[in-house]
Amino acid sequence: MKTVGALLILSAALITGLEGLRRARLRENTLQSLAASFLILRSEISSGLVTTEEALEAARERSGGRTRDFYSAVLSGMDRLGEKTFAEIWTEAAEELDAVSKEERDAVIEVGSGLGRYDRETVSALLERAESRLGSMLELLEKKRQKEGRLKLILPIAAAALFIILML
C-alpha cells in the first residue's frame, strides 16, 4: 500500500514537472510565432496595397497554435469595427493569449494601438519594434530554460522523494 502511495506521489511530481516544462515550451513557441507573425504583417503592410484585414488573414494562415487563435479572434472582431475601435478588438483578442506573461501580452497589445491607424512607415516601425521586443523576451526565456529547465523537472521529483522518505 505504501509503495503504491509512494508511486502515486512520485507520478504526480513527475507530471507537475513535465507540465511546467510543457508550459515553458508553449510560452516560447507562442512568443516565437507571434514575433514571426509580426514579420508577416510588416512585409504585407509595407507594400501599401494590402488592407489590415488581408494582412491579418495572411498572418493567421501562416501561424499555428495560440497565435493562429489570436488572429482568428481579431479577424472575427473586425465585423464589429465601427462599434469598437481596432485597438479594442486587438486588445480583447490579446487578453485571451494565456500562454504568455503579462509583460509579453502588453508588447502585443501595444501593436494594436497603431496598426491600421498610421501610414505604412509608422506601422512598419511599430511592428519591427514589437518584433524585436518579443525577440529579446524569447532570448531571455531560452536562457532561463537552459539554466533552470532540468531543475523544473527534478525539483518536484526530489521534493516528492523527500516527502516519501519522511513519511515512511
Partner: protein
Amino acid sequence: MERVSGAVERFDRAALLLPHNLRDRARELKREERASCEEFRLRLGYPASVVMPEGERSMGGDPVTKRELGFVLEAATGASVHSASSRLAEGFITAKGGFRVGLCGAVGLSGGEPGGFTSVSSAAIRISREHKGACVPIIDSVYSGGEVRSTLIISPPGGGKTTLLRDLVRYISDAAGGPRVGLCDERSEIAAFFEGEPTMDVGRRTDVLDGCPKARAVSMLLRSMNPGVIAIDEITAEEDAEAMTRAAHCGVKLIATAHAASRTELAERPIYRALLASGVFEELIIIRKLGGRRSYLREAML
C-alpha cells in the same frame, strides 16, 4: 415610400462611420430628415452638423474631438490607413458602402507633394444614394432606338449630377443591345469602389477605371476596352476636355457632368467654351433644384 426607406437605410449605413455618441444623435433625427440628409460634417472643437437640402445645421452636443475624428478615419479605411494613403493624399477616401469621406487638416509634404494628413481637423461624410430610375425623365434625350447622344449634364454643386450620371450609365449599359460603357471614376463616386469592388450598380456592360486621372483614363479605356460610350464625372481640367474631344473623334459617344448653373455660365469658362465649340456634345441637360425637388431642362447643342 420604398425610395424613402432606401434613403433612410443609406443614412443609417453612413452613420456607422460616426463615433457612438454622434451616431446616436444622428439616429434621433426624424425619418424624413434622415431620408434627405446629404452629409455629416465634423469639425474639431465644434458640434457635428448635418447638411440638409436647405443648408447645414448643427446636431448639437459636445464639440468634436481629435479622438472622434480618428475614429471616423479608422472606420472609413477599415483600420487600413496605410493602404488608403494615396487617396488620403488627394484629400478623400471612399468608405465601405461607397460613402466618400473628405478630410482636412495638417498636410504632410513628401517630395513637395501632399503626402497625406499628419492630423485631421475636419471630415465630411457624403451620403451618396443610388437612385435607380433617376434618369427616366431624360432618358429619351440621351438614349433612344439603341443610339446614344453625347450629353453634358450641368448643375450647381449638390444638384444630383453624379446620381443622374450613375443611373444613365446603368440604364444604357443594361439596355438590351446597348453599347459597352467605359466609366472614368477618378474620385470613386460613381461606382464607389471599396477595396477593389464596385458598391454601386453601374450596369453589366460597364468597365470602370477607378481612381485614375480622367484624361489618362479616357486614353486607357479607348486602347483597352473599345467602349461605345465613355462617361466622366466633373470635367475640371483642360486635359480632360482634350481627352474627351479625342475620344469623340474616335467615334465614341460621351456622357459627362460639369459644375455650372446654365449654358451661359458654362460658356464663360475657357475649358468648357472650347469643349462646347468643338461640338462633341449633342445634348445639354440642366438640373434645377427647387424646394428639394429636381427638374430637368433639355437643350440641343448642335
